[in-house]
């Protein structure tokens, strides 16, 4: 089992550190300003060459600028404690175990959660299993 991940970017933070506007960065990279805007919002999956160019200009490695984060982490952080308690109760697990989902890696996920439990959790969070997790491809 794997976490479904999404790419989040720190472009804005690094860009502002270099005193560049969206437009200036866009010109340096050779893309439109809108592209930078969408990248900063995280709603755009850039091509690798654009990523390389951005990493070159911001002078940071790619995985510092674009880092992958489990989708579930974002969702759990967006919930209040009371809501999380409710979800944990409905799924039949402790609050701590639910909260651990935002910290563990893929291996721990496979060892400490089974698929049916994850399906339950996903439903309680108002999502589908496929939105939050991926099944490992068998060799």
């Amino acid at each position: 089992m794997k976490f479904k991940k999404k790419i989040t970017s720190r472009i804005k933070q690094f860009r502002e550190g270099l005193d560049l506007s969206q437009l200036e960065l866009a010109k340096l990279v050779g893309v439109s300003r809108q592209t930078i805007y969408y990248l900063e919002r995280g709603s755009y999956n850039p091509s690798l060459t654009i990523s390389f160019k951005i990493s070159e200009i911001l002078e940071k490695p790619i995985d510092k600028i674009f880092y992958q984060e489990p989708v579930i982490k974002d969702i759990l952080e967006g919930k209040s404690l009371a809501e999380l308690k409710e979800v944990a109760e409905a799924a039949g697990i402790s609050l701590e175990k639910l909260a651990s989902l935002s910290e563990i890696d893929d291996e721990e996920l496979t060892s400490s959660f089974n698929e049916s439990l994850l399906v339950k959790i996903a439903i309680e969070l108002g999502m589908e299993f496929e939105d939050l997790f991926e099944k490992e491809v068998e060799n």
Partner: protein, 281 residues
């Protein structure tokens, strides 16, 4: 990052003048014309005298006739010489990036600008007198000259681009053609018009297409080596990252610019960093 490369090399402007042979030709033509007129006048007078059996004019009348022809002839000749030498000195043409500029005129200075885009054809003529003085006349005809000719009342209608007295007209023709080719290849200033305003909807599309066209060739990848080190076939890798095996093949050949998400997935499967897997050439 380097700026956008100019799509074509810059063409140097070409400036030229015309040969003095043009002035000689015009003076020669004027003399011929005047002599013809003079001869006609003399022949006609003699014929009239004999026809009407008039008494032959007295000496003083002959002198009056002689001076009335010769004095204007000399005045005309001198002013013609002055006029055409000055005309040649004042005439200049310039073939620029996007148009031809012709400046001429002895009394009134005239500056004509002909955009290359309006040129329809280039005529090189070499008339009888031209051949005597080894010069050529180049006429640049534009889309508008027919209308201008129809609208003109009296006088000689010349095409907009009239360059007389050229010793080597082929140079001009070549220069103009060179620019015409460039003009038809890239509409002038199009790159600026499309790419510079940030808000054009087209922008995203074009930059996307262009980047796609340029990108693949700049990526060097070690996917194949990394994959073979762990005895993984392309098919298995493709399955693990959830793409068709062709995608992996294209990637390994450096023909495909993957998305960052795909690059991350591959890096994860091969347990390395993106920078270890791909390099910008």
């Amino acid at each position: 990052m380097e700026g956008k490369k100019k799509m074509s090399k810059h063409i140097q402007p070409y400036k030229g003048t015309i040969s003095r042979n043009y002035a000689k030709k015009q003076i020669f033509k004027t003399i011929i014309g005047y002599l013809l007129f003079y001869a006609t006048w003399v022949v006609l007078s003699i014929w009239l005298i004999y026809f009407f059996e008039a008494p032959f004019p007295s000496d003083w009348l002959l002198w009056i006739i002689f001076y009335s022809v010769v004095i204007p002839f000399i005045v005309l000749l001198l002013s013609t010489i002055w006029y055409f030498y000055r005309y040649v000195n004042m005439f200049s043409y310039e073939i620029l990036e996007s148009d031809i500029v012709i400046q001429h005129g002895v009394f009134n200075r005239i500056r004509a600008t002909i955009p290359h885009s309006r040129i329809q054809n280039i005529n090189i003529t070499n008339g009888v007198f031209d051949r005597m003085f080894k010069i050529f006349t180049v006429k640049v005809e534009t889309a508008g000259s027919a209308a201008a000719a129809a609208g003109a009342k009296g006088g000689v209608v010349r095409p907009e681009g009239y360059i007389p007295g050229l010793i080597e007209p082929n140079i001009i023709e070549e220069k103009i053609k060179e620019r015409l080719i460039k003009y038809s290849a890239i509409p002038s200033g199009l790159d600026d018009k499309i790419f510079k305003p940030e808000e054009l909807a087209f922008d995203n599309f074009i930059s996307y297409i262009l980047s796609k066209m340029r990108e693949g060739e700049h990526l060097k990848t070690t996917i194949k080596e990394k994959r073979e080190n762990v005895n993984m076939t392309a098919a298995v890798l493709a399955e693990k990252v959830g793409v068709p095996v062709q995608t992996i093949n294209y990637l390994e050949e450096g023909k495909y610019n993957p998305s960052l998400a795909l690059a991350y997935k591959i890096a994860e499967v091969l347990k390395c960093k993106i920078e270890d897997l791909f390099k910008m050439a």
